[in-house]
Amino acid sequence: MSATTAPETAPPAPPPAAPAGVRKAARRKKLVPYWLLFPGILWLVIFFAAPLVYQASTSVQTGSLEEGFKVTWHFQTYWDALTEYYPQFLRSVMYAATATVLCLLLGYPLAYLIAFRAGRWRNLVMILVIAPFFTSFLIRTLAWKTILSDSGPVVGVLNSLHILDVTSQLGLTEGERVLATPLAVVCGLTYNFLPFMILPLYSSLERIDGRLHEAAGDLYAKPFTIFRKVTFPLSMPGVVAGTLLTFIPAAGDYINAELLGSTDQKMVGNVIQSQFLRVLDYPTAAALSFILMAAILGMVTVYIRKSGTEDLV
């Protein structure tokens, strides 16, 4: 998970020039890393990289399941997929971005609490953050159906406070219900990916030297100024890692949209899933996944440039 932040240690010093007799053994030793890498890398090449290449060729094929598919360099599939499913693409990006922002807003105080304020409760709070992970996430997502149900307490409270009137006006909910609306899907996405935000935030906050806060306080900085000028900038690696770990899976997710939304909340993941598993239109499914991958790679690159983490990590 911390592949981007893992420190790269300096290479071990090269061994001093060996006498001729030892050279053969040294050459054999040079092959050791390749033997270590071989089985695992072979696995990744065959079952991760090759499928992506294969998928690329599938996306320019035409044909049908009965007659078989042939490579015809039919790039039209990409255009057709984009024009037909751009609402689902837009929705995926919007939902994932909203969920990521909500995760950051909700996760930051908790990560801060664990890092600086929990004291001897730190381990307990940490367990409470990780433990929900272990109840199958599908079961937890189904539990949101109960929590947000039309006759449930959440809808009742929101309704009596007239919050649902406001959210309906904004198009987030419909009438007096939350389930099967955008609000429910974003709520589920936020919930499911929150731990992926909290853990990197916590690990970068934990590394901050508490004396920096004291120093800022000694220089008459107000608590909020300390946060803005010291804590938050120093936690940037965590913020960036957390947003990536939330945004990428959220944009490709189709489980929340399926279980908590209705047909009006379909995301691009739902389309890929139904094209592949139900419609059996493999070229379209392949083209859609490539567009999704390219879009995410593009956005992530811009984001990393803008947030300037290249020198922060």
Binding site: P33, L36, P109, R117, F134, S136
Partner: protein, 264 residues
């Protein structure tokens, strides 16, 4: 006035605890509804208290079968990914070689790729090679996506390890094999354990990749998914609660062992 000042001073704590409640709320609901006796096929509305599901957790057709299949796959995927991943991690942490940057990006990519893209690609490959979907395709896929997480966990541990410890062992005439088994491996063990645990959890809970590569084989997450359409038995809540309890107990036991070791 005093109250608002107190709230302002403890704003972070209040907001943090609010988030914690948001995280735990569904687990509480799962627990409560495991004691429900639903009216009809769906377990979404509270009817009345009953312990039926707890006394008969396997009372639903296919549920325990799918559960044991998921456990089996998770165990094998963990073993496969941990062995392959640890080897890669040692190569990356200990050796300099020309393909290193390429290997690093090949390890990083699966973690940065939306699952649905990997799932559909792998399924396309299997489909065109004419492979029958089932246990083996699921296992292959799970080892594939767990591998990177193991490499990252083990690599971080091995890199933070002092190379002088191994040099000292060799100065004391330990053979390379002895050095590895007596010094290197024990130090790397927590990283390997973390990677293995993560693999187990990821494999056991995976739905998206399994959904594309399982054919008609039903793992536990797929059983839950199917039941969301057909009707959710209360036993699902029982299993969910039990998983939560077992995990918390394991973590607590691990912590106790850890503090005791520190004291002695």
């Amino acid at each position: 006035m005093a109250l608002t000042r107190w709230i302002r001073r403890n704003l972070v704590v209040i907001a943090g605890l609010g988030t914690l409640a948001y995280l735990i709320l569904p687990n509480v609901v799962v627990l409560i509804f495991s004691f429900n006796k639903p009216n009809g096929r769906f377990n979404y509305e509270w009817q009345r208290f009953s312990t039926d599901a707890w006394t008969d957790p396997c009372g639903v057709a296919d549920l325990c079968g799918s559960l044991s299949l998921s456990l089996k796959i998770a165990v094998w995927a963990t073993i496969g990914a941990t062995v392959l991943g640890t080897m890669i991690a040692f190569a990356l942490a200990r050796y300099r070689f020309r393909a290193r940057p390429a290997v690093n990006s090949l390890i990083f990519l699966p973690m940065a790729m939306p699952e649905v893209v990997m799932a559909a690609s792998l399924a396309t490959l299997f489909l065109n090679m004419g492979v029958d979907f089932g246990f083996w395709t699921i296992l292959i896929a799970h080892i594939m996506f767990c591998l990177s997480f193991v490499v990252t966990a083990v690599k971080a541990r091995v890199m933070s390890m002092d190379p002088r410890l191994e040099q000292a062992a060799q100065d004391l005439y330990a053979s390379p094999a002895q050095t590895f088994l007596r010094v290197t491996l024990p130090i790397a063990a927590p990283g390997i354990a973390a990677g293995a645990l993560l693999s187990f959890a990821l494999s056991f809970d995976d739905f998206i990749i399994t959904n594309f590569n399982a054919g008609s084989t039903v793992t536990f997450p797929m059983f839950v998914w199917g039941s969301a359409q057909r009707g959710t038995p209360v036993q699902i809540n029982v299993i969910g609660t039990a998983m939560f309890a077992i995990a918390v107990l394991c973590v607590l036991a691990g912590q106790l062992a850890g503090t005791r070791r520190k004291r002695s």
